[in-house]
Amino acid sequence: MKHTSKLADIALLIGFAIVVALGPIIFTPIGAGYPDLLQKFAIYGIFAIGFNILFGLTGYLSFGHAAFLGVGSYAAVWSFKLLSMDLLPAVAMSVVLAGVLALAIGFVSLRRSGIYFSILTLAFAQMCYNMAYSVLTPITNGETGLRVLRQDPRYLDAAIGYVSPTPSLFGMQITGWTGFYICGAVLVAAFGLSIAIFRSPFGMTLRAIKSNQNRMGYTGYSTRPYLLSAFVISGMFAGLAGALLAATDPLAGAERMQWTASGEVVLMTILGGAGTLLGPVLGTGIIKYFENIFSAYNEAQLKAMFTFVPDGLREPVVKTLSLFVGEGWQLTLGLLFMAVVIFLPGGVMEGINRLIGLKHTPKVRSLGDSPQRDGLGEMVIEEMPTHDRTAEIEKNAAEQQARATAP
């Protein structure tokens, strides 16, 4: 457990807010400084921050978080259709609905842990996705996605007598840079909230559950309510992200709920560093950058970029590189991802910390800084490990070597 002062936390939050505010300037040199991508950074950042509260703190790996994002989007679009084009009712509806769904799914899924928990959440999310795509089309508009139409009733707006043409917040339209700053403000707030949760007694309890759930049980803690709260909170973050997604781009489609979308937020969190404050946001940035910028390079652009390379060499250079950009962007992502899991289980954050060497960073041995689990990933009733795991691994290796040299 790192001990940080309140002051450092506040400094971190302010620094974060400054970076967000300067986003358009910072990201322009790398080609990401346009409103839509920055909005996506902020929105998926919120999603990942929420996911991190569950996975990073408790170690419970949910593979169904996209369902909450999707439900949040649908709720927001329905709010734009029925109530008002203002963001606030939409956010309220999304967060509440996502929270209720998370409560229901969490209540059932949290009866199990480890990989069983993952599969349960995955199953629920896939059910939501399949239903939204087909049977629930009257509510979700299926394949084409739910959109805001001009002729929708919007009872609240009708009562006031003012209708904004696009989703707005107090009359400010949530498009372009205004949209980014609204999302950015929410991101900063979400980040602050996540710091508060990390430092609170509640956060401590969650970490304690992660390191040894049974010991928590022995000390008289009933862990389930804590886990469920964490699950619901992270579901609400996802709902919030869904609402913002619908506000910046008033269309909600079912594919947002597919398991690959749930997988994406897992990747984001882990790539950046699960259990760290900044990691999820960083991971989000990297993945969204790949998806939107790396995928956009085509051979013609590469050729233009590599005009400085001599003619004979240019062709092979461009050919090789084009394997990894454009249509090959997923290959690069897959490789990068493997490299991070293998060499930097603490994610990019671990890399940064080590690079800076600011403070003593213990080597992260696993993504979740593993709790004591059995082969099924379930918690087991065992004594706390009193010895260091490296020692154990080294001992085993030595034994094996001894065995191998023995006749």
Binding site: T137, G176, S295
Partner: protein, 450 residues
């Protein structure tokens, strides 16, 4: 228009301190754009940027790559490079082979992953970052409808690629969206009489339908068209998208009393369901004293390749085929073949044509201003782009042209020679009243990027 609103909003009393801060922090280049433009992404330099938004990963990646090839070819021809392709045959033609309005055409591309969300994200990137004057592409109706409504909101013209749902130019039509490809309704109307002629008027059909909007419109159109010919519909069953194994849906067909199976599937679903239906011996079966038949209302060359032998003898419809014998088709096929070594697919043709049509409309309008370009495209009649005489109808921005009824070839010469054009159904027969699908086009006014 939008900038006007911006001023009002600034003065709105509701505005909070946060908003003020946001406005202060807003980078200056955004404000400059918002004030100076009278439409989105005015081309300023010597170049004009087209946005090619195609799937490069996921199930339709190959289709998307073919579309991208066609676009690149179109760009070459527009700039006067290469052999000119269909620019040599198009009538009337305003383009001069020196770019568009004297500006050299360049392009940006992106990967839509065949997902509506991602398609909108890449389109936004092209509009916001790369300054694309128009967006074109896509290989599913979900993508087309999603990107089309986005383009309407920001005021950038969208030339749809491969999209077959009635909705694209029906209930979801938009003033800024244009579709060259045909739709499910036309498929049904074109296919109905040919089926009745080939298989008789006394038939009982069983539909397997992909359980999403495109599938439903296709099913409805096919039902209408075949019932008009005297066919009965025994049953229509919805199948989940991406169900790799369709056996559990195919076996009930055997004893249903039907003698025709209509597969309202596309892409991988169609490849799998057709392959499996043929394996179940449906086509060797006799039902009601007649030979059992399978119909696939829409298929493409790539799908025919994927389905292999199963496609032989199957009736369907197509927008275009490289084996047509008109001068335009052979010019395009030659040009595409010379560049890439394969004949173009129908997706490639529709995308190439869309890019050319947009450029031509700009040339005729004399400006990139979208409201003028829309006016130039609306009601535009042209010929010599491979589909015979074609009309871009003003009421719904749908192209009306001949529809091809095709059949899987029994003895293909090579892997590009899989489909045989059985009948060319004239445009007049597939033209319908635009009001039957409802929807409205909305505003045609130019605006400054949203």
């Amino acid at each position: 228009m939008a900038d006007k609103k911006f001023i009002i909003d600034r003065r709105t009393a509701l505005k909070t301190g946060l908003a003020g801060a946001a406005a202060l922090a807003t980078p200056s280049f955004f404000i400059r754009d918002a004030w100076a433009d009278d439409f989105c992404n005015i081309p300023k330099g010597k170049d004009v940027v087209f946005g090619f938004n195609v799937p490069q990963s996921g199930a339709y990646a190959d289709e998307g790559m073919d579309e991208l090839k066609a676009y690149q070819l179109a760009v070459k021809h527009l700039n006067g490079e290469g052999d000119g392709g269909m620019l040599k045959t198009m009538k009337p033609l305003a383009l001069k082979g020196n770019g568009v309005l004297g500006k050299k055409v360049t392009f940006v591309s992106g990967d839509t992953q065949t997902k509506a969300d991602q398609a909108r994200a890449t389109a936004k990137r092209m509009i916001e970052k790369d300054g694309a004057i128009m967006i074109t592409g896509g290989s599913s109706s979900a993508e087309a409808v999603a990107v089309q409504s986005l383009c309407q909101d920001v005021g950038v013209i969208f030339m749809a690629g491969l999209t077959h749902s009635n909705d694209t130019t029906g209930k979801d039509k938009r003033a800024y969206g244009f579709r060259h490809f045909f739709n499910a309704y036309m498929s049904g109307v074109a296919l109905g009489p040919v089926l009745a002629e080939a298989y008789g008027k006394d038939r009982a059909a069983y539909h397997l339908t992909a359980d999403y909007t495109w599938g439903w419109t296709q099913e409805e159109s096919m039902k209408d068209a075949t019932e008009k010919q005297g066919w009965k519909t025994v049953k229509a069953v919805r199948t989940p998208l991406g169900a790799a194994d369709f056996s559990q849906y195919i076996t009930p067909v055997l004893n249903s009393g039907a003698d025709v199976l209509v597969l309202n599937h596309y892409g991988k679903d169609m490849i799998n369901s057709l392959t499996q239906a043929v394996q179940f011996g449906l086509r060797d079966k006799m039902a009601n004293g007649k030979k059992f038949e399978i119909v696939v209302p829409l298929f493409s060359e790539l799908m025919a390749q994927g389905a292999g032998d199963a496609i032989k003898g199957i009736y369907g419809t197509a927008n275009w085929d490289w084996k047509l014998e008109d001068a335009a088709t052979s010019a395009f096929t030659k040009s595409f073949g010379a560049a890439y070594g394969t004949p173009p697919s129908q997706a490639a043709q529709t995308c190439y044509v869309q890019a050319i049509l947009y450029a031509d409309a700009v040339e005729r309008a004399g400006t990139f201003n979208p409201s003028k370009v829309i006016a130039a495209l609306e009601g535009f009649e042209f010929d010599g782009l491979g589909n015979g005489k074609t009309l871009y109808r003003a009421a719904d921005h749908q192209c009306f042209k001949d529809v091809l009824v095709v059949q899987g070839k029994e003895k293909p010469k090579d892997k590009f020679d899989l489909l045989e054009v059985k009948k060319v159904v004239p445009a007049s027969q597939v033209t319908y009243d635009p009001s039957i699908f409802g929807g409205e086009l909305g505003s045609k006014d130019a605006k400054a990027c949203g």
